[in-house]
């Protein structure tokens, strides 16, 4: 929008020199930009207001004689109330607007496909459930909501795609998530925004938004990795999970548990989600099911975050409502 204004006013030489607006390439971006412009408007209004009043008074009431004594003025209560209440009202509007967008942007639509991201000093590891893995590159289809599950192998990183107006920190030992739906085919920056050590500024990459058909081709082509859940299934056997988690084994069968609400032995209820599966693997004793003995060993320290995500993907794939994975 600003770009067009610049171009029309003949300032396009300047506009060509450096951009003044980031590309907006997701469904989220538009809403955020509108609020951003509104805030810019408010800021301009008050800044211009204050500056002009000051300049006006500076000239009108400049000192004319060294011993000038100006008249006394009084502060009417109404005025004080006005400039307390009007900004308050503006703030209320901004708060609700911003929070509405934020809450909306923090809940992925049900039809999202998934991508997993691991931050590591100093690169982004990205896994597609179908198998392909990438480093510092992220290929996504256009017009498809995508939920990104983010974690970190070491310190805190920040996963940031400015063109989509999304950002979330990658925390060691925890899953965070964002979602976006790209709207424009193109290539966009991917940054790390949480300071993470020496090469923090090299922890950058590119996001490629592709037409859906190209994306499918990309998935099919390239190096052929087994899908995440396949890799997870493999691990499930190697690590011995399958020895217990089979019908008649010591552990509960995992078929169909994903997304269900479970009652724990202490009576609390929990939804089986990525975080809970991760917790079951790292801290099994904190996941106590009523009819089972607490025998599952911890696998803490035996898995890196990538393998963890593969296991999670596998357990998920046993779920009843197989999520559409963008095929």
């Amino acid at each position: 929008m600003l770009m067009t204004v610049l171009t029309q006013t003949g300032l396009h030489e300047i506009a060509a020199l450096f951009p003044i607006q980031p590309p907006a390439a997701s469904t989220i971006a538009g809403g955020v930009d509108q609020l951003y412009y509104f805030l810019t408007g408010i800021t301009l209004f008050f800044t211009v207001l204050i500056f002009s009043i000051i300049f006006y008074f500076m000239i009108k009431y400049r000192r004319r004689a060294p011993d000038e004594v100006p008249p006394e003025t009084h502060a009417p209560l109404a005025l004080e109330l006005a400039w307390t209440l009007i900004p308050s009202a503006i703030c209320v509007v901004i708060f609700f607007w911003a929070s509405y967008l934020y809450v909306r942007n923090s809940r992925p639509p049900a039809a999202s496909s998934e991508i997993f991201v691991i931050g590591k000093q100093w690169m982004w590891h990205i896994q597609h459930p179908e198998g392909p893995r990438e480093i510092n590159e992220l290929h996504v289809p256009v017009n498809q909501p995508i939920e990104v599950t983010i974690t970190s192998q070491d310190v805190i990183h920040g996963f940031y795609i400015p063109a989509f107006r999304v950002k979330k920190d990658a925390l060691p030992g925890r899953y965070t998530s964002i979602w976006f739906e790209a709207t424009k085919v193109g290539t966009y920056h991917l940054y790390c925004t949480e300071y993470c050590g020496t090469d923090h500024s090299h922890m950058i990459g590119w996001v490629y938004v592709m037409p859906q058909s190209d994306y499918a081709a990309w998935l099919a082509g390239g190096e052929q990795n087994e899908s995440m859940s396949k890799a997870g299934e493999h691990l499930f056997g190697v690590l011995g999970c399958s020895s217990c988690h089979t019908a008649g084994g010591d552990g509960p069968p995992l078929q169909g548990i994903y997304g269900q609400t479970e009652k724990f032995a202490d009576g609390s209820t929990h939804v089986v989600d990525d975080t809970l599966i991760r917790q079951a693997i790292i801290q099994p004793d904190s996941v106590q099911l009523p009819n089972y003995k607490n025998v599952m060993p911890t696998f803490k320290g035996q898995l890196d975050e990538e393998q963890m995500l593969q296991l999670v993907a596998y357990v998920k794939s046993l779920g009843p409502q197989e999520r559409k994975n963008g095929q």
Binding site: I282, Q283, P284, D285, S286, N294, T298, K300
Partner: protein, 233 residues
């Protein structure tokens, strides 16, 4: 703006009177307020620890309970609580005797008693708790070892060490305050011996008393938080 002159009254300065004040009452009030403000700071200082402790206790409840029940011994904690309460009483009595004009020997006796009780507290803490913990490898950083009995905690066993870390840090910080308090008491003892105090001038005693009582209060919270709140049944 100044249309009246209040000269610095040249009244006979009582001992300990500082030039920047107008009256000795003003000075005493300032000292008290100053100490209370300092104690506010202390509350937030320990408060930071308490907050971290609360958060982690709620996150790792089983491990913290095991640490509390299986490592800490209530009898020492309770005894020490009683010892500190006694020392608070003797401290209050020391101020009382100076304030009501008793012989300096009486005040000194109360001060010495307070110090003895303070030392008793530290002695119990050191000998029967910290030293024993060290022998049993319960000190993080000094050869901490996990116990087979804690195996039921499974993967959460590591947080027993975290509990002990908080335990040593909180009680250590408290003990450090006690040591500072003992230093202050020593100074007060010397001042009393040199007849610095009179019924009109007990401010240093009083202000140090506030500090001593505060250290007592910290322990009044540490005792249940570390030793008791999970229950010992």
């Amino acid at each position: 703006m100044s249309d009246a002159a209040v000269t610095h009254e040249a009244h006979a300065h009582p001992p300990g009177f500082a030039h920047q004040f107008e009256t000795i009452e003003q000075q005493r009030d300032a000292g008290r307020l100053g100490m209370w403000l300092f104690l506010m700071t202390e509350i937030l200082f320990f408060g930071g620890m308490f907050t971290a402790y609360t958060v982690y206790r709620s996150l790792h409840l089983p491990a913290f309970e095991v640490g509390s029940r299986q490592i800490l011994e209530v009898r020492f904690g309770a005894t020490n609580t009683a010892v500190l309460i006694c020392s608070s009483l003797t401290m209050a009595m020391a101020i009382h005797s100076a304030h009501s004009g008793k012989k300096k020997g009486v005040t000194m006796m109360w001060l010495v008693l307070t110090m003895i009780l303070g030392l008793t507290f530290l002695g119990i803490k050191l000998r029967f708790e910290w030293y024993e913990d060290y022998l049993h490898h319960f000190v993080p950083g000094l050869g901490f070892q996990y116990r087979p009995e804690w195996a039921s905690l499974g993967s959460q066993m590591g947080q027993v060490q975290m509990f002990m870390c908080f335990y040593f840090f909180m009680t250590g910080l408290h003990a450090l305050h006690m040591v500072v308090g003992l230093g202050i008491l020593t100074v007060l003892l010397i001042m009393t011996a040199r007849n610095k105090f009179s019924p009109d001038y007990v401010a240093p005693l009083e202000i140090s008393g506030l500090y001593w009582h505060f250290v007592d209060i910290v322990w009044i919270f540490l005792f249940p938080l570390l030793y008791l709140i999970g229950g010992r049944y």
